[in-house]
């Protein structure tokens, strides 16, 4: 666990940069994390996925898997990969300030 500064505020993140306390997150932090992951600007479509991810996590305690995301976020898997190249579930979780989703055992 380390502390980094995002959008001017110190926050706790894990080794891979996932926020450990979702309540510390702000949209500005999301934008900053997106930029460092190579996404210049978060569009409305990006936010639809990020907000959905975050809401599911806060409601249920678990981030949705990519398959669940494709079925329920209103954005199909193909587009998810266009929006968040290299692993939409992980990247959207990171930008949305929730812990890294774990595959089911």
């Amino acid at each position: 666990m380390t502390t980094v500064t995002l959008a001017g505020t110190p926050v706790e993140v894990d080794d891979e940069g996932f926020l450990q306390k979702p309540e510390q997150w702000t949209r500005e932090m999301g934008e900053e994390m997106a930029r460092s992951a190579g996404i210049e600007k978060l569009t409305e479509r990006h936010w639809q996925v990020i907000d959905f991810m975050r809401k599911t996590y806060l409601d249920t305690g678990a981030a949705p898997s990519m398959r669940a995301l494709g079925k329920t976020s209103g954005v199909a898997i193909k587009e998810l990969y266009e929006l968040f190249p290299k692993g939409p579930a992980k990247l959207a979780a990171k930008i949305g300030g929730i812990p890294k989703p774990r595959g089911c055992v």
Partner: protein, 403 residues
């Protein structure tokens, strides 16, 4: 239940077919080690007297009216419902998987018919690229694909084909397993056996004509023989039953009491649930204890016990008459050690041994003669025991909840 309540309870088991399959043996069918017929028995014969068996397909459950609707219009009212409808294979949900080449160069051994036809294809296999692909999780027995790789390595060596064959495991996970200590140890074993791992491979489509797997992030894997573990979902009736399941059709239950969120008199067990532990027969066995007690508590109007801890216990067949054993739960990842008796075993945890292999084979008999008739296995408790486990390999940060 009948032991507890005698003839005052009526128990009805509904299933759409009368063929009970010992699924762990599906692993051995492709290698000609067991015959497909030998792993199936009539369900009706496994049930004790006093338990009615009804052949019928469930269309939906109406929890507000305590009623199960069967296809054809028949209805079954209930006081308590236990959903144990397992997981379905959904190969058609992956673009191209069941198209050209399905049953010729692409197979699954997760069904009896699939395992039998793969067995024929293996018989005629002359070497090349053998790709084992987990399309996405959750799947039944998440370590079974690793076992398939290990057994393939052994089988190909025996036939003198190993030098002519590349074995590739294409998995959506970032390693061999979801938990760090086991992932590292199993990863080393795969490496030792020269099985290539293509990690974080999220399968998007299969091109059966060109014999290629494509991932969503545009990677490609060529194959000569594809062994696919297709997508899994809950039984189709779940989607038609208001509020019962999650988006994949698994029953939403309290992970510790197994009571359904949809209604207090509905419980679920086994692969049908959404609990974040392995979909394995051993898990269903441990859950049965919690379930039995909680149904009694429910009927007596008492508070339910939060006693199910996610306990899973799986043998991993590693080839050359060896196997290793994993024992874990929601909070404790698989660790090395001895099982079930601390220091003595006789089984070893997370370490290959001949005895673990014999254990896996002996389990077949235990299954039909002890487990199905509802007897207990001596020495093995429903909850995970820490005694006998080596905790020195745990990193200090606690694992997050899986899901």
């Amino acid at each position: 239940m009948r032991r507890r309540y005698g003839a005052e309870t009526e128990i009805t088991v509904v299933d759409r077919d009368n063929r009970h399959v010992y699924q762990p043996d599906l692993l051995f069918v492709p290698f000609g080690l067991v015959a497909p017929d030998s792993i199936c028995r009539p369900r009706s014969k496994q049930l004790r007297r006093g338990v009615e068996f009804r052949l019928g397909k469930v269309e939906r459950v109406e929890t507000e009216k305590n009623t199960v609707h069967l296809v054809g219009g028949e209805t079954l009212p209930y006081d308590v419902l236990i959903v144990a409808s397992g997981a379905e294979l959904l190969p058609e949900e992956t673009e191209g998987l069941t198209g050209p080449g399905w049953g010729a160069t692409a197979f699954t051994y997760y069904s009896v018919e699939g395992a039998a036809s793969l067995s024929k294809a293996m018989e005629g296999f002359e070497g090349g690229r053998l790709v084992v692909n987990i399309v996405d999780v959750p799947i039944k027995c998440p370590i079974a694909p690793l076992e398939f790789c290990f057994l393939s390595d052994w089988w190909l060596q025996k036939r003198g084909l190993r030098k002519k064959t590349e074995i590739v495991l294409a998995t959506p996970l970032d390693g061999a397993f979801t938990k760090p200590v086991a992932a590292r140890m199993l990863g080393e074993l795969l490496e030792k056996k020269k099985i290539l791992v293509e990690a974080e491979f999220a399968t998007g489509r299969v091109d059966g004509e060109a014999r290629k797997l494509h991932s969503w992030d545009e990677r490609e894997i060529d194959y000569d023989l594809l062994v696919s573990i297709p997508l899994h979902g809950g039984s189709p009736f779940v989607e038609s039953s208001n509020g019962l399941g999650d988006e994949l059709g698994f029953i939403v239950v309290d992970p510790n009491t197994l009571q359904a969120k949809a209604a207090p008199n509905v419980f679920a067990i086994g692969d049908a649930t959404n609990v974040p532990t392995s979909k394995a027969g051993a898990v269903a066995h441990f859950q049965a204890e919690t379930l039995g007690e909680n149904i009694q508590h429910f009927l007596a109007g008492e508070e339910l016990e939060k006693s199910f801890d996610g306990h899973a216990n799986c043998f991993i067949e590693t080839g050359f008459s060896k196997a290793l054993l994993l024992d874990f739960n929601y909070d404790v990842e698989p660790l090395p050690g001895k099982f079930p008796l601390p220091g003595i075993g006789p089984m070893s945890l997370l370490k290959e041994s001949r005895l673990d292999h014999l254990g896996k084979l002996a389990f077949r008999k235990l299954y039909w003669h002890l487990l199905l008739p509802g007897r207990r296995i001596p020495l093995i408790s429903a909850q995970l025991k820490m005694a006998g486990k080596d905790t020195s390999l745990l990193s200090s940060t606690k694992e997050g909840v899986t899901g």
